[in-house]
Symmetry: C2
């Protein structure tokens, strides 16, 4: 039940000898989601052993070169590697021009479908729903149309408390129905307490029948309510991706309670003026956003090439939000399972 972010590119507009343009892999269970696709993404995927045939969904925040120039090579490589399943790309509307150019000039022989889902919104909106995750897009404040993404793990199926299975002699049928959230209504013999019938019912229908005697007086009803017998194995996790953006009031509210936040931190606070001019954030602003959103962990990246070592950015962010980490090429940030307190 993995839920992790792998940072593949931590550079801003100008890559350096060791820092690549933006690209990130979010792993949710068995699925991989690619977020932004700067130049060299396919090489970084190979270098860090990411099984990229598992990528069916790509999310592009905006159409600046350092977030998009790897798409041409990746789409070509998918084709040469024999891909046949559809690839879904969630990107601003204007991405259609990029895709059209690619397909018209380099698309010969591509046998898989590429579906562009245009993103266009002024507030958070659901753009993808899969088996394990929902993805919401929300606008950022940058030069040109830019979106952030919030990945919400879906609520998992409930488990039945093991310590109740024996005493209640729960059958496989009953366990399966309880996990689905149904109640179980049993007809039990008064003579030997044997269960003569068991059926799944919506709790509301039968609440008043528990213990009630049937017509013959030989049997009584027993109600097993889902909430007494089951628990959520873990709490659904959240990841928010915010790059590139100037800070703005609504942002923290939109990503409230995220477990992991990736937020760009192009500059340190001494370069605040430059951050304002270029619509980027300082490390302090990234940390303020994490704090306000009540995030559990913050990962910063998208460092200006002027920082040979991004340590000063980390120090600045940690002053405000101690649980901050530096993105680095190939580093994986895991969000552990969060359990409810079991009954």
């Amino acid at each position: 039940m993995e839920f992790s972010l792998t940072t593949l590119g931590t550079a801003s507009a100008l890559p350096t000898a060791n820092r690549y343009p933006s690209a990130h892999i979010l792993t949710v269970h068995e699925r991989l989601f690619l977020i932004d696709c700067g130049e060299g993404t396919q090489m970084q995927l190979r270098k860090y052993g990411v099984p990229f045939h598992k990528i069916d969904h790509i999310f592009i925040s905006h159409l600046h070169g350092d977030h998009i120039f790897g798409i041409f090579g990746l789409l070509s490589t998918f084709s040469m590697a024999g891909r046949s399943s559809a690839l879904h790309i969630y990107a601003p509307e204007d991405f259609s021009r990029v895709l059209e150019f690619f397909l018209s000039r380099f698309g010969e022989g591509i046998k898989y479908e590429i579906v562009h889902h245009p993103v266009c919104t002024e507030s958070p909106v659901l753009i993808y729903e899969g088996k394990s995750v929902e993805v919401y897009a929300f606008p950022l404040r940058h030069r040109g149309e830019t979106y952030g993404f919030l990945f919400k793990e879906k609520t998992p199926q409930k488990n039945v408390h093991k310590y109740l299975i024996g005493p209640y002699k729960l059958t496989l049928f009953e366990i399966a129905r309880l996990k689905e959230g149904n109640a179980i209504l049993r007809t039990v013999s008064r003579k030997d307490d044997s269960v003569v019938e068991s059926r799944a019912v919506a709790t509301g229908d039968i609440e008043d029948r528990h213990g009630e005697t049937d017509g013959t007086d030989d049997y009584y009803y027993q109600l097993l309510a889902a909430e007494d017998f089951t628990y959520l194995p873990y709490l659904p996790r959240r990841f928010a991706y915010c790059s590139d953006t100037a800070p703005f009031d609504k942002l923290a509210g939109w990503i409230k309670g995220t477990d992991l936040l990736y937020h760009e931190a192009t500059y340190d606070s001494r370069l605040k003026d430059l951050a304002v001019t270029t619509c980027h954030s300082t490390a302090a602003e990234a940390a303020e956003c994490a704090k306000e959103a009540g995030a559990a962990q913050l990962v910063i990246g998208h460092y200006s090439s002027r920082y040979k070592d991004p340590a000063p950015l980390l120090a600045e962010a940690k002053e405000i939000f101690p649980c901050t980490f530096l993105a680095k090429e190939g580093t994986k940030f895991e969000v552990p399972l969060k359990s409810f307190k079991k009954k």
Copy 2:
């Protein structure tokens, strides 16, 4: 007087964890020429410390993604790094569509001129002439229009033999004129052998005047012929770039006598059928070309991703052409100065 090839990308269509798509730097004296520009070229240039602001000329062999997808990032980076001088790109005619797309979608703020010189030829043709080098394009046999390039170092200015300067009391004026290929005609006093006049002349005009007496009989003429006093400091060097191509008869003749040959070797001979189908060469065919062209050194590259280690390709080529080397990311192949035998 450097003349060297640095290989930055040795992969064929599918890059691997360690092998990048095609990109090469030819250094001729102080100038850098970029040959092909696969995805990640700008990162490779940085990684291997190539001062890429010195690149004013880019040569693109053909418009397959693995030779071209790095151009978008490089052109953007040149802009962000404040480039103002013109950039010249020699590429097939259809490159104009690639450039047009780039400029229309990502060209905002580009302040330097990008000049596309369309290459279109069926036999070797001069496409660039600079201070130190001439570049010829010639057609290759690949899927789609593809060109190879022959870089010819220009003949250097001659040097004057140092051991003749003293005995002949050569003046700076005379040395400069001799280096330019002129002869010197001196008027010398019969009394004390002093030079009373010295002038540069085309050799043909004055051959018959050497030792001749002037009207007064007080002077005689002395002819210093350029070929007796000067020598070429080194022989001009040549580099030929052949990628991607199936073998064909005329090729070796077009690159005759090259000092250094880069030739693709995508497959080994066991995969000859695949090489034929895809219009590529085997290592043996690359070596045959080098042998027939009388090359001094052969560098092979563009390895299929199936070769985790390209050693078998090297072994195959060396059987035919012993002076073969494997291209590797960041490796520099130098062509040393070749001297004439001095008089």
